[in-house]
């Protein structure tokens, strides 16, 4: 049977240095230059703003966005249920509740919203088995557990949920390979691993995972091109530069990755005309992959970037200002 590894080839023509200024321009003019994509992604606008705002801060260009206007926008997205919608006239979701809180924490403007109502929305989202629903239609996913715990940690209100049950549900999603999926039984996936480790890190329960086994599964994500995939036999994608890398950072195993080839992969995925970073070299760029590519480079100490916190995916100086600590296993 063929032994071909699913991977991409990095060639000399691809960008190989950090195009910092271009990324700043890409992110700060996204709405204008990519009008169609911007309009069509209204249903995730809050997260889109968080991606751009975080990336620009890490790029030392936070002043490129109008903070007051953004704070005002976030305020208008708080619904009567306390949670946040991605944009006005959309239903609230725990995903956008986290993004809203992350944005306001970055701008130090938490007083702009009804915090008690937001906390109550999150409390209500927890089910008896410890899991969290994303919205009133009961979809369950370990992503939502992360959203709940991260949001509450940022505002200092973790006591609003049942922590033991939350951890119990997370651990019920642990698989035979040491990784985690969306729900119990679901296939291990790098994104879900990040979410589950994030929860356990915030709650100080990392002793529950097998760090060596999971660390090895994670470093197996690295392909010959240097890029990381999300699960076995898949192509590499820049966003896994974040989810795999931050997971390894939490487990104290960041040094297990071949840094040079990963940096090469991320840099090759930049667009040297418009700026921005794509999922892999040659593809279309977007703010989502731009953020995670930049976060990956920051974790690896590349470029003139601010430090990123591996659990919250926010600038470390913001986490320091909030006096938050997370558990990171020693390397």
């Amino acid at each position: 049977m063929a032994n071909a590894v699913k991977d991409v080839k990095i060639t000399e023509e691809m960008p190989d240095c950090m195009l910092q200024d271009l990324h700043v321009r890409f992110l700060s003019t996204y709405e204008e230059k990519f009008k169609c994509e911007y309009e069509m992604t209204e249903y995730l606008r809050m997260s889109g703003i968080y991606w751009s705002a975080t990336a620009l801060d890490l790029l030392n260009a936070a002043d490129q966005l109008d903070q007051d206007k953004i704070v005002q926008f976030v305020r208008t997205c708080q619904t009567s249920e306390g949670g946040f919608s991605p944009a006005p006239r959309h239903d609230p979701s725990i995903l956008y509740t986290l993004s809203a809180i992350q944005i306001l924490c970055m701008y130090d403007r938490l007083e702009a919203i009804d915090l008690d109502a937001a906390v109550a929305y999150i409390t209500k989202a927890q089910n008896d088995d410890g899991s969290f629903k994303g919205d009133k239609w009961d979809e369950i996913d370990t992503r939502f557990s992360f959203c709940a715990v991260a949001a509450l940690a940022l505002v200092g209100r973790l006591e609003a949920i049942n922590i033991d049950k939350c951890v119990e549900f997370i651990m019920s999603c642990m698989n035979f390979d040491g990784g985690f999926g969306c729900r119990p039984g679901s296939e291990t996936h790098s994104g879900q691993i990040y979410c589950c480790l994030g929860v356990l890190s915030i709650l100080g329960k990392l002793y529950l995972v097998d760090g060596d086994l999971l660390g090895w599964w994670l470093c197996e994500r690295q392909l010959p091109s240097g890029g990381l995939n999300g699960r076995p036999e898949k192509y590499p994608d820049v966003c896994y530069s974040w989810w795999v890398l931050s997971s390894l950072a939490i487990l104290g195993k960041l040094h297990w990755i071949d840094k040079e080839s990963l940096v090469r992969f991320i840099l090759a995925s930049q667009d040297n005309e418009s700026g921005g970073i794509a999922d892999r070299p040659g593809d279309c760029v977007d703010p989502f992959h731009t953020l995670f590519g930049i976060c990956g480079l920051s974790l690896l100490g590349e470029g003139k970037l601010k430090d990123v916190n591996p659990v919250f995916c926010m600038p470390q100086h913001v986490i320091d200002r909030l006096n938050l600590t997370v558990e990171l296993l020693p390397s």
């Binding site: 049977m1 032994n3 590894v5 700060s28 996204y30 709405e31 204008e32 009008k35 169609c36 309009e39 069509m40 209204e42 249903y43 995730l44 606008r45 703003i49 966005l65 109008d66 206007k69 953004i70 005002q72 926008f73 919608s85 944009a87 006005p88 006239r89 959309h90 239903d91 979701s93 919205d135 009133k136 239609w137 979809e139 698989n175 035979f176 390979d177 969306c182 729900r183 039984g185 679901s186 296939e187 291990t188 996936h189 090895w216 599964w217 470093c219 197996e220 690295q222 392909l223 010959p224 240097g226 699960r231 076995p232 036999e233 898949k234 040094h255 297990w256 990755i257 071949d258 080839s261």
Partner: protein
């Protein structure tokens, strides 16, 4: 429903919609100028916002949600409102499933469509088509995470375990590196027979036969390690015999070498070997080999050498 239909009329030009005042998208916080984008998209969503604000749950509203979905199937607010309309109008679930199946076939990796499907089945309690439907999707994309998750939910909720192992086996015959299928194998056995000694021995043989066909197979090796984790990698004589055979054949696969290394490390940990120094030497040699055949992970293999040396101390 394609928006390239001939004779497509914008909602703002339809007399039967003249009672509605469309609501335009609010300016985003990073907005500098308003430039016209797709006119049809804007028209549909301006009318959707109006219907949503009004809370109108009618046939025309239902049709409008279908149109909105055709433009943007990831907009979950549209799906949620569609569910409310379906409930209010007490619509036939079978009809909706037909429509949904068509959408999923076009938009297979979208959270909202799968969640909608589950919501419908939770209401109707009819999961009779689901294994067939998810097979069709998986046939097209063997690793579709949403399809597999939905399938797991159906099997567990409606007790449809009987033919699943056979299904997994068929998929692994097509592609023995299908990680989702290996995961499903574990899921089925865990929830049915459990990993008794007899089942475990069968699974070991099954997995090693697959490995024999292709040594570079992360999923099969992870599965083998996973099913042995309670009893230990050195528990089965069959495993030891096969591993020795492959060593003699000089198999160079990094995953195989890593497995051999793990077996030695386990022996050292349990104190199950007399010639400790010899074993450590053997393990270090394997690490050296691995640094050469699996260069991207050379730092990990160096870590393993350090771990072995700690054992010596």
């Amino acid at each position: 429903m394609s928006d390239d239909e001939r004779g497509y009329v914008l909602y703002r030009c339809r007399p039967e919609w003249s009672d509605i005042n469309p609501i335009p998208q609010e300016e985003g916080p990073t907005s500098v100028v308003q430039i016209a984008y797709s006119e049809k998209f804007k028209d549909v969503y301006d009318y959707f916002r109006a219907i949503l604000a009004k809370g109108e749950k009618s046939e025309r509203a239902l049709e409008l949600t279908a149109r909105a979905i055709s433009f943007n199937p990831a907009n979950y607010t549209v799906w949620q409102f569609r569910r409310e309309i379906l409930r209010a109008l007490d619509k036939d679930v079978a009809e909706e499933m037909k429509y949904l199946s068509m959408i999923i076939t076009e938009q297979q990796k979208n959270y909202q469509v799968w969640h909608h499907r589950r919501a419908l089945i939770e209401g109707s309690k009819d999961a009779s088509q689901e294994l067939k439907f998810t097979s069709k999707i998986i046939n097209h994309d063997q690793k579709n995470y949403h399809a597999w998750q939905h399938r797991q939910w159906v099997i567990k909720e409606f007790n449809q375990w009987e033919n699943e192992l056979e299904y997994v086996d068929r998929l692994l015959t097509i592609d023995l590196r299908n990680n989702s299928a290996w995961n499903q194998r574990y899921f089925v056995i865990k929830h049915t027979t459990g990993f008794t000694d007899e089942v475990l021995n069968n699974e070991i043989e099954y997995t090693m036969n697959k490995i024999d066909k292709a040594f570079h197979n992360e999923s099969a090796w992870n599965y083998l390690r996973g099913i042995l984790q309670d009893r230990g990698l050195n528990w089965s004589e069959h495993v030891k015999t096969r591993v020795d055979l492959w060593r003699n054949e000089n198999i160079k696969s990094s995953q195989f070498l890593a497995f051999v290394l793990s077996m030695i490390e386990e022996e050292l940990k349990t104190g199950d070997c007399e010639n400790v120094e010899e074993k450590i030497c053997e393990a270090e040699e394997l690490c050296e080999q691995l640094c050469k055949v699996d260069t991207v992970r050379r730092k990990y293999w160096s870590f393993v050498v350090q771990r072995l040396q700690k054992h010596l101390q």
